[in-house]
Symmetry: C2
Subunit: 193 residues, 2 copies
Amino acid sequence: MKNLLFDFISKYISLTEDEKNEILSLDVFRSVKKGTILLKQGQESKDEYFVLKGCIRKYYIINGEEKTTAFFTEMEPLTPHCAINNAPSEYFISCVEDTILTVANIELGVELFNQFPKFQIMCRVLSEELLAKQQINFDEFKTSSPEQRYLNLLQKRPDLIQRVPQHQLASYLGIKPESLSRLRARILEKNKG
Amino acid sequence: MKNLLFDFISKYISLTEDEKNEILSLDVFRSVKKGTILLKQGQESKDEYFVLKGCIRKYYIINGEEKTTAFFTEMEPLTPHCAINNAPSEYFISCVEDTILTVANIELGVELFNQFPKFQIMCRVLSEELLAKQQINFDEFKTSSPEQRYLNLLQKRPDLIQRVPQHQLASYLGIKPESLSRLRARILEKNKG
DNA sequence: TTCATTTCTTAACTTTAGTCAACAAATTTA
DNA sequence: TAAATTTGTTGACTAAAGTTAAGAAATGAA
């Protein structure tokens, strides 16, 4: 697990052994069971997550209905909104599978920045990248139909379709579970006829 | 215009006079006429923008149709995807109104980081904030209907509805211009009956 | 294994968005 | 100002998503 983390970091900055040890001393690795809720709506938390293995999901409960809006899998970081704006969380985060992740307090991060300025660089570059990626994703979502979005997902993250329940995928695609079911039947029909 | 920029920056870091002068020496202020295209699809550019006054819009041309996916108004920064990933731009950026903005080369930014590490801090905090905001926006988009999205926009950015042509707003809301027109008529009807 | 629960599909029906076309209104520009 | 272009509305029709309900299939727990 250490290596997964350090390989990821090495894409942005190079670390000395001392720096690696410093990170390890923070004891950030966590192993969590499928179904575990990491963050609840209304809760205040300063924790940031980085998925090493497994899958976590972000969801809202709106009028009693679960609305899943994001999944985070291997090598994806997640800084919840509430950790940044000091307000109660608008959403839940839970584990879709047994998951190994790092959990780090955001304030701890600030200390690290003071001690090792290169972490600051990594975090800047990383969030700029994530922001740009996120914008492209959003653009694709806006400019395509539910069916196109599903086909697109099939291309880009075929693993997700396997590992995640369909009714959760539905709201991720911005539609109802029944619609996703029909849309899939429609596609199969097309590929047959 | 200087003051608008420095007021914005002061929300993140405090600048000495020397630092302010350093920024001014970069000569980043631009005044652009309505309709000007700042970035074209296919073009490679390292420029980042920050809108001081006016409005710029990001759009794709897909099957000959313009698809507007974002607007940037007063005090909003935009780093195009192409400036980060060294690839030709997927989209256009043009001015919806006569606009005053700063244009800065992303490589120039890196130099500034070396000279004044606090800029690095500002950029990290800023992109983390933007990313979190963007995610919330995306979540709202996914979990609501076109009508709700329009009403939501009416609440949150009533100015946009005034200053931007409706057919551009339509794709921003993920629908066709005719649908936006009907949806608006529907809402008016409801508020009457 | 059996029962309970969760997840997925299907059907009938309603509502809304997409498409195409015509035209009205507003804006630009010659 | 007049003509041309852009922008917005409306109508008729098609296609797809939302809603409600029933039941089948898969999964998890006792």
